[in-house]
Symmetry: C2
Subunit: 290 residues, 2 copies
């Protein structure tokens, strides 16, 4: 928020204390945040201008089917990416404060099934005989623990869940893969750019490219367009359009501004090759405060 302006309204994938909330709060500490319960609801909120921006997970999350974000952006909504950020997905073991000295004899552990899976090795080596209870979200699990001060049970979740429900974190960072990050996108109805005060230097453009036909080497030809111009790709992912029929689209992140001469040339050539190219905008990666 800049001086004299109203607070921006930011939709995020809830519930409150979710990993998306953590990322959104870090990006927009002074704005008005509103939780929605699904990715499509977040996308529609910004599409219908009920909010100014929406923050949704793109990759590797426990909270949403990530392909839903891509499919909605490709098939449904006319939105732009105005920023992205990477957040560490850190899972902690937490108990009620009354139980903080008893945590080594926990009788049950509650969390979202995906969070339990992410902590598989820790749970296997440390609590192999303790029953795991599957819950609809990590924060719902934390809430349950907070409501049962007399039971020696634990939840697995993030710092924000522990704070919201006043739980004691007794083991930090119990997830298996330490380099695990989730990427979040900031979506807007207009192709503007967020004011950059703490971002990584390079501008990035996300393209969705449909190949004209599924011929051997078509992707190679598409990449040639970027390669000889020394335009660097930081992500490429194929998605089937109609499974089994050999039609694909590709999501690519290119480290360049869509208004630059090289990118304009590349996009014109892709169109001339018969590709359908949709730019989701040029934006910067925001650094989250951790």
């Amino acid at each position: 928020m800049r001086n004299g302006e109203r607070h921006q309204r930011i939709a995020y994938l809830g519930p409150e204390a979710s990993f998306t909330y953590l990322a959104t709060k870090s990006l927009f500490p002074n704005e008005e945040l509103e939780a929605f319960s699904t990715i499509p609801e977040c996308i529609e909120a910004v599409s219908e201008e009920k909010v100014d921006l929406a923050v949704v997970p793109l990759e590797n999350t426990i909270e949403g089917t990530v392909t839903l974000t891509i499919d909605y952006l490709y098939h449904e909504a006319d939105l732009y990416i105005v920023g992205d950020c990477l957040s560490k997905i850190q899972q902690h073991l937490m108990v009620h404060k009354n139980q903080k000295d008893n945590w080594q004899s926990i009788e049950e552990i509650y969390s979202h099934p995906h969070a339990l899976a992410q902590c598989h090795k820790y749970l296997y080596y440390r609590f192999s005989s303790v029953p795991l209870q599957r819950y609809s979200s990590t924060s719902a699990a934390a809430k349950l623990v907070s409501e049962n001060p007399d039971r020696c049970i634990a939840a697995i979740g993030n710092v924000s869940s522990a704070e919201k429900y006043d739980l004691e974190i007794v083991q930090k960072n119990i997830h298996d893969f330490q380099f695990n990050h989730t990427r979040f996108l900031v979506l807007s109805k207009s192709n503007t750019r967020l004011p950059v005060d703490h971002s990584e230097g390079k501008a990035k453009t996300t393209l969705m490219i449909t190949l004209p036909v599924n011929v051997s080497g078509a992707l190679h030809q598409v990449l040639s367009v970027f390669a000889w111009r020394k335009l660097d790709l930081s992500k490429i992912e194929s998605r089937p359009l109609k499974t089994g029929l050999g039609e694909y689209f590709f999501i690519m992140d290119v480290h360049a501004d869509e208004n630059g001469a090289m990118m304009k040339g590349a996009m014109e050539e892709l169109a001339a090759l018969g590709c359908n190219v949709k730019s989701l905008g040029t934006y910067y990666t925001f650094l989250t405060r951790e």
Copy 2:
């Protein structure tokens, strides 16, 4: 199972009546299926030879974080893919049989948050004022409905959940994207091939390739190795090795046998270019019975 042999034991990502169960049952109708509660547990079961094979989702599922499968295969387990299959993810609205004439006045709808998200448009247009209740799995939601014959409530889930809990499907295929499929992998400890009686014709090889350095055009160079040999790719996906540091590995599906002359040549050249190449094996896509 062939005549005279023991039943094979197949691990799958549960709970029973999950989408993975449906795919596994279709692939192995006569074998002994065993549910595990997380993807890592399925992978370890086959790795430690507690079971013969494991079936896990790779893409676009509501049951597991898909990247967990890729990360475990890359970083942890020494397993091979011996088959894959594509299954339609079909979501249905189901009620207790006592309530089958009252379903238009449902008071609450229960399901996994991701399944609710997949049916967003149907729910928005048809039941916008009905509260949605998030549950840990679609089959847990079906179980709840089956235990409350007097309440006018519904669950969203697959055919198998309806059958298991004897519910009435009152609206079929209420998911937003009709071409939605999930891909499942069949994993084995040995690089054998499943006997093919009902598969798509072409052999496929999955490679995990780490680029030597993150230079502009390195991926293009890698694809050249496949393109001039007319080796067709049906999937490519980049995954960060250490986020922010610009190191990637790529998962590629190539329509060719790893023992063929062209593939051997391609893999030797990739190694000569400084790439780290790991083949997860050559296999066929099984057609599921629907």
